[in-house]
Each structure stands twice: as structure tokens, then as C-alpha cells.
Amino acid sequence: MGIEWKNSLKDAIPDAKAQKKPILLDFFNPG
């Protein structure tokens, strides 16, 4: 299983606060 990406910073911030973890934000070009 790969990385379980979220697709929104708004979704990630509550999880980051709850789990006390920093956020990895990746910008990609689908090509």
C-alpha cells in the first residue's frame, strides 16, 4: 500500500492537530 494522500490542506490540518504531526504538501504535475 502506498502513501495515503489527502487532496486538501483543509482536510489535513485537523488531522495534523489531532495527531500532532507536521504536514507534507506535495505539488505534482500529472503530465
Partner: protein
């Protein structure tokens, strides 16, 4: 990144344990403008409030990506005056990935974190000595060179 580094099991495990991962297209707005995006891949470490602390542009293989992410985590702690936690992150880089390109900056910021935590200048001097002995060609060795006079 998507073909090589992100599928790597060590990267998957590291991210699952240590970070909340978010992936967005380069042209998604307003986030691309909010973060002044100009090129991909761009990888940014944010704290839990969404504030940026570290970014890299360009491909990183797994053995460079993990220490780069650790550097970002350490810098997030450092910027938030959480120096013990910052030192823990920098130590993980230096013990697990001593040959990585993130290591010289980790040595430097580790020394500054020790100084901030203890107000003892030995942390700065030791960082300078480590950089000059192990990473003499790095820009961080030059940046730390004044601490040799302490």
C-alpha cells in the same frame, strides 16, 4: 517522485508514521498561488497550523527524501521554539543518513538548537568543528565558521 520515491516502502512507512500527506496538482487554486508555486515537484513541510517551514524543488531519491523530510520536521520544531524535538529530528538525519545532502544543515541547526536550549556556546563550536571535519565543502561549514572563535 510518483514513480520512484513515493512508492518506496521506507518512504511510505516514514510518511505514515511521521506526517500527514497532502498531494495537489500544480495548477490547483488558490493553493498554488498561496504557496507561490513555480515548478514541480515542489515538496513543502508545514506545521500543524499550515505554516511553511521547509521546501525543496526537484526530484529526490528515497535516500535523500527521508532526510529532507526530517529536516523539514526539525525546522518546524525549531521555528516554534521546540528545541528538544528539533534536536531529535536532526539527530535522526545524522545517525540514519549521514551522507545525505540534508546533513550539513542538520548539523548547523542542531548546534543552534543546543545553544537555544542550554545557552551554552559549546553547541555552536561543536557544530562548526563537525562541519569542518565531515562536510568541509558545504555552505553550512562556511556559515558556521565564526563559531570557531567562541
Amino acid at each position: 517522485m510518483g514513480a520512484v520515491s513515493y512508492p518506496d516502502k521506507k518512504v511510505v512507512d516514514f510518511v505514515a508514521k511521521n506526517m500527514i500527506p497532502v498531494q495537489v496538482r500544480f495548477d490547483e487554486q488558490p493553493i498554488a498561488s498561496d504557496f507561490n508555486l513555480r515548478w514541480t515537484p515542489t515538496i513543502i513541510t508545514l506545521d500543524m497550523e499550515g505554516k511553511e517551514h521547509h521546501r525543496t524543488v526537484g526530484f529526490l531519491p528515497p535516500e535523500e527524501l527521508i532526510p529532507s523530510l526530517l529536516l523539514g520536521i526539525g525546522k518546524a520544531h525549531f521555528d516554534n521554539n521546540e528545541f528538544k524535538e528539533a534536536i531529535e529530528s536532526f539527530d535522526k538525519i545524522l545517525s540514519g543518513f549521514p551522507g545525505s545532502h540534508s546533513s550539513p544543515e542538520a548539523v548547523y541547526l542542531r548546534g543552534v538548537s543546543i545553544y537555544k536550549e542550554t545557552h551554552d556556546t559549546r553547541g555552536l563550536k561543536e557544530a562548526c568543528e563537525t562541519l569542518q571535519s565531515k562536510y568541509p565543502g558545504s555552505e553550512w561549514a562556511k556559515r558556521a565558521s565564526p563559531y570557531n572563535l567562541l
